[in-house]
């Protein structure tokens, strides 16, 4: 069983809130729920929509069919009507958007008390509950879906919430950020939750100021982190290189959006993989990790705090708009790695090649030694990161077909391969890349690549690091700013299976 609900409406009229209430109710009912969000770069008006996909089995992405379309305005109907089928239910003409929640709950035969409890968590309860009651009473149809057998899922959260939570649980003390979609959601989360943890969120005048202030905090011993999207990351890269020289621990959250330039500010993309790996002049070690869902985001960020502190390097958590803004549910408690701080106030650092008292030098022997130390650090780092899950194999483990992907495409790939004769190699650590990936790839007869970019950046990394070349015809690439839908991905994969 799989059901898709779209809540669409103008920015500012609450399609996002409505979707959140419905999603949380579905989770409480025991369904597996995935909810993504599409919005425009505007504050009021236009067309924003959330797609809720739920099932009695684990679900990690949206599919393209529409079962229920909730329209807060006429534009919503216009926008989605080509995707409607004869069974689609369209809800329109309500006074207030919360009454739609009542109608949806009734359609899905979910007890009203669940909706009541959800609404209690937010403001305007009195008005909202009245509206919800009206909607619940008004709706007379039933979808008669299969009821979930499992209980309420423990966690339902977005990628951004997960990044923020993971950072807090890893002992982060300072988060410096300048607003930029889609990284801003982490700043929101952290600012909202500041009173519950021992950290500070600081907004300074630019991304350059943010990362340099983070460096200032880090050299006194604080665990610091910055967050940004592509353009802001570009501004930070001079300091990223400086960190490589001065050896300072820093966690960088990089949320990708459609580029280059300002690109499509509110759409998704996986086109900053090379930027994350190669930005910054000179040669220095770094870690680049790309979680595929919120649970992995929590776990990987704690590993990043561990590795960056231990090796005094920069670690980049690579996310994207789709992961940052989508809500996922999961049951298992994420594993947090505890990390020790490696700096105490009193040390000296320099962006120059410098001697042991940190005075700048042009002594060839010292420069050579420092360069070699950085290479050695990369080797230790590769060994140490192998302690963690640097990649995962999902699906039919003995299949000759292997799909390769990274980051937020994980959800659609997992949903697409259910029942197919293939396995999925999900790369988590892009840098350093585990050499075990090479043997996994060489075992496979047929390698299929899935990426949300136009130049297949992961395949280039794999070619460089493992020598494995993926055939052009086996590359499934999407670069229209939107994430993969699982049903469309299934047919693309099937065409390429052997």
């Amino acid at each position: 069983m799989r059901c898709n609900i779209i809540c669409g409406g103008p920015a500012g009229q609450g399609p996002n809130f409505l979707a959140r209430i419905i999603s949380q109710g579905l989770v409480k009912e025991g369904y597996f729920v995935f909810c993504s969000r599409e919005y425009e770069s505007r504050i009021r008006g236009g067309h924003n929509y959330n797609t809720i996909t739920f099932s009695d089995k684990p679900i990690n992405s949206n599919a393209s069919e529409i079962d229920i379309l909730v329209t807060l305005d006429n534009l919503s109907l216009e926008f989605h009507k080509t995707r409607l089928n004869k069974n689609s239910i369209v809800l329109k003409e309500e006074q207030e958007n919360i009454s739609f929640a009542g109608r949806v709950f009734k359609l899905l035969e979910i007890d009203f008390s669940i909706l009541d409890n959800e609404l209690k968590k937010y403001g305007n309860y009195k008005e909202n509950i009245e509206e919800a009651k009206k909607g619940y009473a008004k709706e007379t149809r039933k979808l008669s879906l299969r009821k979930p057998t499992s209980k309420n899922k423990n966690y339902f959260m977005s990628g951004s919430e997960a990044v923020a939570l993971g950072a807090c649980k890893s002992g982060m003390e300072f988060y410096y950020s300048y607003p930029m979609t889609p990284a801003t959601a982490v700043l929101f989360e952290l600012a909202q939750k500041e009173s519950m943890f021992n950290y500070k969120t600081i907004e300074l005048e630019s991304e350059i100021a943010s990362i340099n202030a983070a460096v200032g905090s880090a050299i006194t011993g604080a665990k610091a982190m910055v967050g940004t999207a592509g353009g802001g990351f570009d501004l930070m890269t001079e300091t990223l290189s400086m960190i490589g020289m001065a050896e300072i621990p820093l966690v960088i959250y990089l949320a990708q959006r459609t580029g280059p330039g300002t690109g499509a500010a509110t759409l998704t993309s996986q086109a900053d993989l090379h930027a994350a790996r190669h930005s910054g002049h000179g040669e220095f070690p770094r870690v680049v990790v790309a979680p595929g869902d919120p649970k992995e985001a929590i776990e990987k960020i704690s590993e990043l705090f561990y590795l960056t502190q231990k090796y005094r390097i920069a670690g980049i958590l690579l996310s994207d708009k789709h992961l940052a803004e989508s809500f996922y549910c999961f049951d298992e408690r994420p594993k947090i790695i505890t990390s020790k701080k490696s700096i105490r106030q009193g040390e000296r650092f320099s962006s120059y090649m410098s001697d042991n008292q940190k005075s700048s030098t042009q002594e060839p022997k010292i420069i050579e030694k420092i360069s070699e130390e950085k290479i050695n650090k990369s080797k230790f780092l590769a060994k140490e990161s192998d302690k963690f899950e640097t990649f995962k194999i999902h699906g039919k483990k003995d299949s000759k077909n292997i799909i390769v992907g990274w980051g937020s495409t994980k959800g659609a790939i997992l949903d697409a391969i259910a029942g197919l004769d293939c396995k999925f190699l999900q790369v988590l650590y892009i840098e350093p890349l585990s050499q075990k990936i090479k043997s996994e790839l060489s075992k496979a007869k047929n390698i299929i690549l899935v990426e949300n970019n136009s130049t297949s950046q992961l395949s280039e990394v794999l070619a460089e690091k493992t020598g494995v070349i993926i055939e052009e015809k086996n590359k499934i690439l999407k670069y229209d700013g939107y994430p993969f839908m699982s049903d469309i991905l299934v047919s693309e994969i099937k065409k390429r299976l052997k």
Binding site: L165, F174, A209, V215, G216, R348, F349, S351, Y352, S354
Partner: protein, 276 residues
């Protein structure tokens, strides 16, 4: 790190006024250490340029960071460890070109950090190009027709941006030591510009005979309009006007770290997830 000096041999030109600044800073710090402060109680940051070599000669904790980024680095240090005495060093290129964005905002935030700008009115280490405080008509290899645009007046910019301590001195060890003593007794952002002629690329324009001391002349440093009037007297272009030195302006205002150390407001929606 035992003494206040590292054993690095200074690479400034012989007779460079940076030696005066170093001596002033060193004398000030020696006194601080004698009165019970420890090296670990300090945090220093320097940018890139001739001024930044001072980092190599002072054996204090901190960082020789990038060109222009001294102030946010200092702010990060102060926020993470508000007990530290923070001293930032920049040149005029560092502070007024690449770092201008940070300078204006630092004045607005008012962190309790002391910021010294070694203003030699030229990019010296890159062999003599004009900076934002270089006078019109200045000729160098990159401007054979001479500088066409007028210089900025950093004192006016700092007054306008809300700096709570604005001073200008000459690169003389005694003046440096004295102004640092004043600045460290001020709780907030202290902007100290040091006019420091470059012996090779930008000699002084008869500065000695043009200086006078604001404090001795009865200037009211708590008046912003008096401060602006005094700042107007020297526009960094003129080769004849009087040049006031001393503290132009001083006021008391809440510091950035005081504001940021306040416990955050409790969010209205405390989700159960976060408490798990």
């Amino acid at each position: 790190m035992t003494g206040i000096r590292t054993n690095a041999i200074p690479s400034w030109c012989p007779g460079c006024f940076n030696f005066q600044i170093l001596a002033g800073v060193q004398n000030f710090l020696d006194k601080q250490l004698k009165s019970g402060k420890k090296k670990q109680d300090f945090g220093i940051a320097a940018g890139i340029g001739c001024h930044a070599k001072i980092f190599d000669y002072l054996s204090l904790p901190g960082i020789n960071t990038l060109h222009g980024r001294v102030l946010p680095t200092c702010i990060g240090m102060k926020l993470a460890n508000p007990k530290l005495n923070i001293l930032g060093f920049s040149g005029d290129g560092d502070a007024y070109s690449e770092g201008m964005e940070h300078l204006v905002h630092a004045a607005r935030y008012n962190p309790d950090i002391k910021y010294i700008v070694h203003d030699n009115q030229v990019f010296a280490l890159t062999l003599g190009e004009p900076t934002p405080t270089t006078e019109q008509g200045f000729v160098d290899k990159t401007n054979p027709s001479g500088v066409q645009v007028p210089p900025i007046n950093p004192i006016k910019i700092m007054l306008g941006a809300g700096a709570t301590f604005v001073a200008r001195i000459f690169a003389n060890a005694a003046q440096v030591q004295e102004i640092l003593t004043e600045a460290f007794s001020h709780k907030g952002f202290a902007f100290i510009e040091i006019l420091q002629p470059c012996l090779v690329f930008h000699s002084d324009k008869g500065y000695d005979s043009r200086f006078y001391n604001l404090q001795k002349s009865g200037h009211n440093k708590s008046s912003i309009s008096a401060a602006f009037a005094k700042a107007e007297e020297f526009d960094y272009n003129s080769s004849s006007s009087k040049i006031p030195l001393g503290i132009f302006y001083q006021e008391k205002r809440k510091t950035f770290e005081e504001i940021k150390s306040k416990k955050a407001m409790k969010s209205k929606i405390l989700e159960e997830l976060w408490q798990k």
